[in-house]
């Protein structure tokens, strides 16, 4: 019995030590990513792991939330937010190497409605119509919410804005939840990204905004974190993400893989940048 216990104990410790040794010797990258690119990003990560043998640990979440996690953990090799706004903040505060920033894909804001468009929403003005239930992402922490506010501020009169605000049932806390509330028919429309339609084609359809209504085209950037301990490998991952192979994955998921593609859909627009959300939208 003692002998058996000794053998079992030895095997147990051998497994633990070999696993730990393997984990320590294995090359790893830690990626903090916004949820706006989750489906293709997961595919790209798998492909990178297969090609290089490097293990990539991905932490998905809201772009600002994962930035906070990265700052507080003082860890991470790559920052991959859902839009440029948080990358600007990360660059300004020195959490990424600005020279390593690359654009992966482009995003265009649009109206998303329930499949079949039961409320016959045809344009932005319809979102201020009485009886229409609208949601936008929280403009304070979710980039697509800031884009929505910017569009409303630019295009609506004071009265339309008041009516639109009356129609807002609430803010959603993430990009994905903005899509979910339409999918579950809890609201009639949201201002989201054009690509939302392809995330959930059975329940959601996109109504394009007019070209003059869209202020900016968004993009999903990627950059190497200043917390990285393996800058060369992190840069290798960034190069991989902007490679044609990965672009084709994003294209498969209906993202705009170039400025030209985005402009062809909505017209020529400024790309990226930041927008300061007026205090009246955030209750500050």
């Amino acid at each position: 019995m003692r002998h058996m216990m000794f053998v079992a104990g030895s095997v147990f410790f051998a497994i633990i030590f070999s696993t730990a040794a393997f984990a320590l010797s294995e090359e790893r990258l830690m990626l903090f990513a916004g949820a706006a690119s989750k489906p293709p990003a997961e595919e790209a990560v798998k492909l990178f792991e297969k090609n290089t043998g490097v293990r990539v640990e991905v932490i998905f979440g809201g772009s600002g939330y994962v930035l906070s996690q990265m700052i507080l953990a003082k860890k991470g090799d790559i920052y991959f937010p859902g839009s440029s706004d948080y990358m600007e903040k990360a660059k300004r505060e020195g959490y990424v190497y600005p020279e390593t920033e690359r654009i992966v894909v482009y995003l265009v804001p649009a109206i998303n409605v329930q499949k079949g468009n039961p409320k016959h929403i045809k344009n932005l003005e319809d979102l201020a119509r009485p009886g229409i239930k609208v949601a936008i992402a929280n403009p304070e922490g979710v980039c697509v919410g800031a884009y929505a506010v910017e569009i409303i501020e630019k295009n609506f009169t004071k009265k339309q804005k008041k009516d639109f605000k009356k129609n807002i049932v609430n803010y959603t806390e993430s990009c994905a939840k903005t899509l979910t509330v339409v999918s579950l028919k809890l609201v009639d429309a949201v201002i989201g990204w054009s690509v939302f339609q392809h995330w959930n084609p059975e329940t959601v359809e996109t109504i394009p905004l007019k070209s003059n209504e869209v202020v900016r085209v968004g993009y999903i950037p990627i950059a190497v974190s200043t917390f990285t301990k393996n800058k060369v490998l992190a840069e290798q991952f960034v190069d991989f993400i902007i490679s044609e192979e990965v672009r084709s994955i994003f294209k498969k998921h209906q993202y705009f893989s170039s400025e030209q593609e985005a402009f062809a859909w909505i017209g020529q627009k400024p790309v990226g940048g930041e927008y300061a959300v007026p205090a009246e939208w955030t209750g500050k």
Binding site: G64, Y65, S68, E140, G141, Y171, T172, E173, T180, G283
Partner: protein, 260 residues
């Protein structure tokens, strides 16, 4: 004696574990921002919203929990075992999953009908109360049942033999004797409701000055990569929670049944 000292040491270890976490917040603490945030209308609104929703949810939970706990403690009926197990649902299923279940329910025809003809729960104040109620009702029932289980059934039998109706024996015997357990259950329920986040944000959204409770404000600040404000809001939540709980304990010491 050694054993008691060891136990006291463990108690202090638990204290220092939590106290250490609170002290570590000071690293990001900014005094000027604390004053600005504390006296901000939005923060006031969030505090008022959190406290009122937690209080209402606790009262509703108790209204359901007390009779349910009595039934589970004293009566034998078919399905008792299933009901008893179901009370653990909020502990098995994460709050976010409970919130998702609520959201899915309200997107179904029955839920939609209820919303159109009754109360609007999704993205509204009643949604916060519902989320907090769902996550606390089972726990409140479990805690109160444990208190009632401690009271021998023979006291009620004596009351019945003296002519008291079941309601009267419950009101004059069981309820007063389990008062201490009910109050303890109420305090824990309130505390859990105050800090509830996952289910609340899922069903009620995160709009400032509408459904932004303090835990949601903390999450949104962190989502905005605003760590200093996050720290201040955590201090406010801790201050309210610990303050109210400690104050209640001090008040209860004057009562005949306390935690001494």
């Amino acid at each position: 004696m050694k054993f008691k000292k060891l136990c006291i040491m463990f108690a202090f270890c638990s204290f220092f574990l939590y106290a250490g976490l609170i002290v570590s917040l000071a690293y990001f603490f900014r005094g000027a921002l604390f004053v600005e945030t504390l006296f901000n209308e939005r923060t006031f609104f969030s505090i008022r919203l959190s406290v009122s929703a937690a209080t209402i949810a606790t009262l509703i939970s108790l209204c359901i929990a007390i009779p349910s706990a009595y039934a589970l403690s004293r009566c034998h009926f078919p399905g008792k075992g299933i009901i008893d197990t179901m009370l653990e649902l909020p502990m098995i299923v994460s709050p976010a999953a409970l919130g998702a279940m609520l959201l899915i329910f309200f997107s179904n025809p029955a839920g939609s009908w209820l919303q159109q003809h009754g109360v609007q729960f999704v993205f509204a104040f009643p949604g916060i109360i519902l989320a907090q109620f769902i996550t606390t009702a089972g726990i409140a029932t479990r805690l109160i049942k444990a208190a009632m289980d401690e009271i021998p059934g023979k006291y009620e039998d004596v009351a019945s033999s003296l002519g008291a109706s079941p309601l009267k024996s419950f009101l004059t015997v069981t309820l007063p004797l389990s008062k201490r357990g009910i109050i303890a259950g109420a305090i824990l329920t309130w505390a859990k409701a105050l800090g509830e986040f996952g289910a609340t944000i899922t069903i009620a959204g995160s709009m400032a000055m509408k459904t932004e409770t303090i835990p949601i404000a903390i999450f949104m600040s962190l989502s905005n990569a605003d760590i200093e404000r996050t720290v201040i809001l955590i201090f406010i939540l801790i201050g309210i929670g610990i303050g109210v709980l400690y104050g209640t304990r001090l008040l209860l010491r004057k009562m005949p049944y306390d935690w001494k």
